[in-house]
């Protein structure tokens, strides 16, 4: 049960009285309006319902400072645990308050911090490995690969490192170019322009075997460039990461964009709830980061979910 649907002073008072018996968890995020966050929260509340918890979902509408305020409020209120969905580095003041009061804080795809008991997320290294290995297998371990990466953003930078390592392990794969697109407009447009330049510089069919992108938008941009250049028939393999709806469409059409990796947002939510349960049951967590498996999306399974 959540307080979300209930609103009268009397009902609220009843809820306060009734809530004293159940364990209570506050979920605090500035990003509830974003689709991914809603999947996390749905997964979390579904699992929490099974545990019989009272869940209070608090959205601060993009205001990170207010996340700190709300952590302070629920700390004083005396909740049993707090779940956050925001970079812990920005809410250190709130984490310190909760820690001071002995209330555990669990991150739901939030980031690591000494004051966060555990962070539940997808394994970025594993996701990058999935697509990089897919590319290497598809081109038979030989050929020229174009990489799209973005090192200024740490989670994406980690993906690039893994791909570098995997391609480096195949002596016949050569990284033709390692491109950092301008992401100010989402990344598609500039990626397309950069890819067009690469295509122009490598006009012979077969001179480019694959495009590996650290997320979906550059992959989509590269796809547009290849199709616009009329080189869709060369068998250039494109992969992305995240499996956003646009990428799924492209994969379903069976063109050059062949694979991406989907995070299990709902699963992250439910595993977060399980992690909170372990903490509330008194378990000492050895692993501070808990990974939820991801799924490689190809034409074979793109319609499945």
């Amino acid at each position: 049960m959540t307080a979300r649907t209930i609103f009268t002073a009397g009902a609220l008072a009843a809820l306060v009285a009734g809530g004293a018996a159940a364990q209570e968890v506050a979920v605090i995020t500035p990003y509830l309006a974003q689709p991914g966050t809603q999947f996390y929260v749905d997964g979390f509340t579904a699992a929490a319902e099974n545990f019989g918890w009272t869940v209070n979902v608090i959205d601060t509408a993009g205001d990170v400072g207010a996340v700190i305020s709300r952590i302070e409020d629920v700390t004083i209120q005396g909740v049993d645990a707090i779940v956050i969905n925001v970079d812990p580095a920005q809410i250190g003041a709130g984490l310190a308050t909760a820690a001071d009061a002995g209330i555990p804080v669990v991150g739901m795809d939030a980031g690591s911090d000494p004051l966060v008991a555990a962070n539940v997320t997808s394994n970025g290294y594993a996701m990058a490995a999935e697509t990089a290995v897919y590319v290497a297998d598809r081109i038979g371990g030989a050929g020229n690969v174009v990489m799209f990466t973005f090192d200024p953003f740490p989670p994406v930078q980690a993906r690039g490192v893994i791909a570098d390592a995997i391609f480096g392990n195949f002596p016949d794969i050569e990284v033709l170019d390692r491109i950092t697109p301008d992401v100010s407009d989402g990344g598609i447009a500039d990626s397309r322009a950069q890819m067009e330049a690469v295509l122009a510089a490598n006009p012979e069919p077969g001179s480019i075997a694959a495009v590996w992108a650290a997320w979906d938008q550059p992959a989509l941009g590269a796809l547009q460039a290849i199709e616009a250049a009329g080189r869709g028939g060369e068998g250039i393999v494109i992969t992305g990461i995240d499996a956003n709806p646009q990428a799924r469409d492209a994969i379903a059409q069976g063109g050059n964009f062949e694979a991406s990796v989907a995070q299990d947002f709902v699963g992250i939510g439910s595993v977060t709830a399980e992690t909170v349960k372990r903490l509330l049951d008194g378990e000492e967590l050895r692993q501070k980061v808990i990974y939820v498996p991801t799924e490689l999306i190809t034409a074979a399974n793109v319609g499945a979910d």
Binding site: F7, T54, V64, E72, D73, A93
Partner: protein
């Protein structure tokens, strides 16, 4: 009787809010720890709203305070990344606030653009500048000196509650200092009374020798610097800076001043009344969160309460709720 309602209705309403939470959140709401907590949460809003009061007593307002708060945080954080010392970076951010206030003042007072239009335009400019300087990114982590982030987490210990220390937050102290300063300026100096005179009748004030142009210009320096101070407080609290983090302060600050105006006898803005308005807004957020009211319902409620308070006050002033005694 109706005179009493008009005079003390607002204060009674505030006490009713406090009483409501005291009953519904019995264990924690009225604790010193919770009120210290609230005082810290509202500190940034208090600074912006107090400074907003300075221009609102003249009948003007400043829409650019939110984006100025964002800009000052971003300026300081960017300078941190270039290894500026904390005092130097903070001074630069405050100077940016002063400059922003100066631009607003010149546009409103010397050029003669309506405050709404002038500060709406500078709102966009300052916001754009914040994005430009930060490249649209959040600046955080190792780039922010630990001492800067620690400031917002610290404060003098004023006692113990069980095992845990009670801390009077540094941010609260800053806000109290700013509010005290603004109170002194508005209520106890010739300068402040002249600002009120401009609000009372600008033409009469001019003919009575009040240098209206220069005073109006100077008043916008308060909102500029105040917004910059609040932006730095915010950046310290989140130990980071991004180009939109202060934006929400503007509307809330104006709401707080209006809420405060319902508490004063003559319906004029006053800095202590503004502070009361800020406290009401902070208490509502704190209390409703503790009562587990949904975030979106909470927003609707806060808006409705502002509307009710200002509405009752307007009706009372028009004598709809009864004739003058």
């Amino acid at each position: 009787m109706t005179g009493l309602v008009r005079r003390f209705g607002g204060i009674a309403g505030m006490l009713a809010v406090v009483l409501f939470f005291a009953i519904n959140v019995p264990d924690t709401f009225l604790t010193l720890r919770n009120w210290l907590n609230i005082s810290q949460q509202i500190s940034m809003l208090a600074v912006v709203a107090a400074c907003m009061t300075v221009v609102m007593v003249m009948g003007d307002f400043d829409l650019s305070v939110g984006s100025m708060a964002s800009l000052s945080g971003v300026v300081a954080a960017t300078l941190f990344t270039q290894d500026w010392s904390i005092p130097a970076a903070l001074s630069a951010a405050l100077a940016v606030g002063l400059l922003g206030g100066l631009i607003n003042g010149v546009m409103v007072s010397l050029v003669g653009i309506l405050p709404f239009v002038a500060t709406l335009a500078t709102l966009t400019i300052y916001s754009g500048a914040a994005f430009l300087i930060s490249d649209g990114r959040t600046i955080f982590g190792r780039d922010i000196p630990a001492a800067f982030g620690d400031f917002a987490r610290g404060g003098p210990v004023i006692g113990m509650a069980g095992e845990r220390a009670l801390v009077l937050p540094n941010l609260t102290l800053v806000a109290l200092a700013v509010v005290a300063l603004i109170w002194l300026v508005l209520e106890q100096t010739t300068y402040g009374r002249r600002l009120y005179a401009i609000g009372g009748n600008s033409e009469a004030a001019r003919l009575a020798g009040v240098p209206v142009t220069w005073l109006r210009l100077s008043a916008f320096l308060f909102t500029g610097v105040g917004a910059a101070v609040a932006g730095l407080m915010y950046a310290s609290r989140v130990a980071s800076a991004n180009p939109t983090q202060g934006d929400a302060l503007m509307l809330t600050a104006i709401a707080a001043v209006f809420l405060g105006m319902t508490l004063t006898r003559d319906g004029q803005p006053g800095v202590l009344a503004t502070l009361a308005g800020v406290v009401v807004l902070g208490v509502l957020d704190n209390g409703l969160t503790q009562m587990r009211v949904d975030s979106y319902v909470r927003e609707v409620l806060v808006g409705a309460i502002i509307l009710a308070a200002v509405g009752f006050s307007a009706l009372g002033r028009r004598g709809v709720l009864g004739r003058r005694p």
